[in-house]
């Protein structure tokens, strides 16, 4: 047995990592996986940099930011595995929810699966607030997060300037429902179960799921220290296989009750299992009490594959919102942070379906489609469309970045 330590934050999308450690998938690969729950993304970033953790559950843009030198400590990271697709939502407080509803057609529910419509009504509500001299504040968990980037994309696509029309602040995930209840923020974008916790407490309602903004979009990755990959690639491969098997298990709806109870434990998320079952199923109180729209996908449709096009899209948005400067050298570093080659090497010889390419044109698959896998079997992938119908072709990165510069300013 080889001991590996992995950090995580209390979020539903730590499910694959927790299942791997606790349900025997890591053991089967000869890994004694020690989980360490942490309190902030900054801690996860610093602790993996100094070697407290060998690996971590990490916001997808974070290893890219680390390799571009945006963090305080040196140390390269690699992202050889994605921890599923989707899993976030934009949630607003009751007051703003009522204002958004009043812009609608009289229906009492919010169109959480139609981000364009929801965004349009949010823009109208914000315009009304602006006329009334009222400011609006949203929260995300970190600037280098999918939450920050998708909230900004959602706003920009709806004609809202995320830097001028609203204020975006940082709040730790477990504190979001409290911040909303106290009125310190008007809305947030965060991973589950924190929107469902706000709904259960009666302090918030979801206006859009991550999936409605960009279907089948990346959220967390497994980050490993690059030195570990250099020194012992076989061990990283074994870890990827363990996580893959855990992801297969998590993907099975029949296992969700057990998964919810596992995640609910005090040492993991410390949130009631009933709430986590809603989170896993993608149910959001009265605005969607049926769920089941691929809200959080852990394995099927190549959900764990680290697409280079995901890395480059995240990079393009970090440039868009002035978190870094665009250069071909920087784009190359971002692209190289994701390691589909490691994923392929780890799963070669298993029954896992591997995509035929390392990147795809994001937004091209308006519907799920059967594509040939690397070994000629069929692999169902997508849909991957953006809410505004825009296409991201990673081969046209420069023009995509240039186009968006002219959008909202």
């Amino acid at each position: 047995m080889t001991r590996l330590s992995a950090g995580f934050l209390p979020l539903m999308d730590a499910a694959i990592l927790i299942a791997a450690a606790r349900l025997g998938f890591a053991d089967q690969e000869g890994i004694e996986l020690q989980l360490m729950r942490d309190a902030s993304w900054a801690n996860i970033r610093d602790r993996i940099a100094i070697g407290h953790f060998d690996a971590a559950h990490m916001l997808a843009p974070m290893p890219i930011a680390a390799n571009l030198g945006l963090g305080p400590l040196p140390g390269r990271l690699a992202a050889p595995f994605a921890m599923g697709l989707g899993g976030n939502a934009i949630c607003v407080g009751n007051e703003l929810a009522a204002e958004i509803l009043s812009q609608g057609d009289g229906a009492s529910t919010l169109p959480i699966h139609d981000a364009a419509l929801s965004g349009h009504r949010l823009a109208a509500a914000l315009e009304q607030r602006r006329r009334g001299g009222r400011a609006t504040r949203f929260a995300v968990v970190h600037s280098h997060s999918g939450h920050n980037l998708e909230l900004r994309y959602f706003m920009a696509a709806s004609g809202i300037d995320p830097d001028g029309d609203v204020e975006i602040v940082i709040v730790p995930p477990p504190f979001m429902p409290d911040a909303l209840a106290s009125g310190r923020i008007d809305g947030f974008c965060v991973g589950e179960p924190w929107s469902n916790v706000a709904i259960a407490r009666g302090v918030g309602r979801v206006i859009a799921t991550k999936n409605a903004i960009w279907r089948s979009s990346p959220e967390k990755v497994l980050a490993v220290r690059h030195v570990l990959l250099d020194d012992d690639p076989g061990l990283v491969h074994a870890l990827v296989r363990a996580l893959y098997r855990a992801a297969v298990w998590c993907d099975e709806p029949g296992n969700h009750s057990e998964l919810a109870h596992l995640l609910a434990e005090p040492g993991h998320l410390n949130v009631p299992a009933t709430i986590l079952q809603d989170s896993l199923a993608g149910r959001f109180g009265p605005d969607d009490d049926t769920g089941g729209r691929d809200f959080f996908v852990t394995c099927r449709r190549a959900a764990t594959f680290p697409w280079r096009s995901h890395a480059l899209w995240l990079y393009s948005q970090m440039v868009r919102w002035n978190l870094l400067d665009h250069s071909s050298a920087n784009a190359k570093i971002a692209n190289g942070t994701y390691r589909p080659d490691v994923y392929r090497a780890a799963l070669a010889g298993t029954d896992a379906l591997l995509p035929a390419s390392d990147a795809k044109v994001e937004g091209a698959l308006t519907q799920a489609r059967d594509l040939p896998s690397a070994d000629g079997r069929t692999l169902l992938i997508g849909p991957d469309g953006f809410m505004d119908g825009r296409i991201f072709d990673p081969a046209e990165l420069d023009s995509y970045i240039a186009e968006q510069r002219g959008d909202v300013k």
Binding site: D46, I50, P72, L73, V169, P172
Partner: protein, 199 residues
């Protein structure tokens, strides 16, 4: 210490006891400008008003992400603030994170002025952790003593023996099995409760 050489330090810690231990240490080390903040509310304004050279925050505080963002946005801070001035001092960085200390330092501040502050904070954090551990051990010892008392009573009742004999049986079992007395007591209590259930 000349006034222009005075380093101002802001300590952010939601544990008021630990915060005051650190504050006292900083003052003893000659830092006259020490401010404590236990609440993150309005922290950006505090930073702006205080203009600290060094900010110390515990790693267990989930608000580190919020704090870092406040630095990015704040115009008040003279230069971007980085954690640990000297990246080459990996051992000091590791020791600080090990202890649960995170420090932010205004870029350009001389390393020799930071080092004693950090070392002091690390030392105080470790002392506080040790104190907490000892407190926990004392609590555990108390509950262990209660366990032993309960187990002793069970044995006395079951075997109809006196207290001293019950204690000796447990102690020799602990010695023979190389286990702690409390563990023996725990298994006795568990066994007794199982047997009680069967009745």
């Amino acid at each position: 210490m000349a006034s222009e050489e005075t380093t101002s330090v802001l300590v952010i810690d939601d544990n008021p006891i630990r915060a005051s231990i650190i504050e006292e240490g900083l003052r003893a080390a000659g830092c006259m400008q020490v401010r404590l903040a236990t609440d993150m509310h309005g922290i950006a304004a505090t930073i702006e008003a205080l203009q600290p050279d060094v900010i110390v925050i515990d790693l267990g505080n989930p608000n580190r992400d919020m704090l870092e963002n406040a630095f990015q946005l704040s115009r008040a801070v003279k230069k971007p603030i980085a954690m640990f001035v000297d990246h080459s001092d990996a051992a000091a960085t590791a020791a600080a994170i090990e202890a649960g200390v995170s420090a932010y330092v205004v870029d350009g501040l001389k390393p020799q002025r930071i080092k004693p502050i950090l070392e002091m904070a690390v030392g105080r954090f470790n002392a506080f952790a040790k104190m907490e551990r000892e407190l926990q051990m004392a609590r555990d010892a108390l509950s262990e003593r209660k366990l032993v008392e309960r187990a002793k009573a069970i044995l006395m009742r079951q075997r109809n023996i006196d207290e001293e004999r019950a204690y000796r049986i447990m102690r020799s079992a602990a010695m023979n099995q190389n286990r702690r007395l409390a563990e023996i007591a725990e298994s006795l209590i568990t066994a007794a409760s199982l047997l009680d259930d069967e009745k």
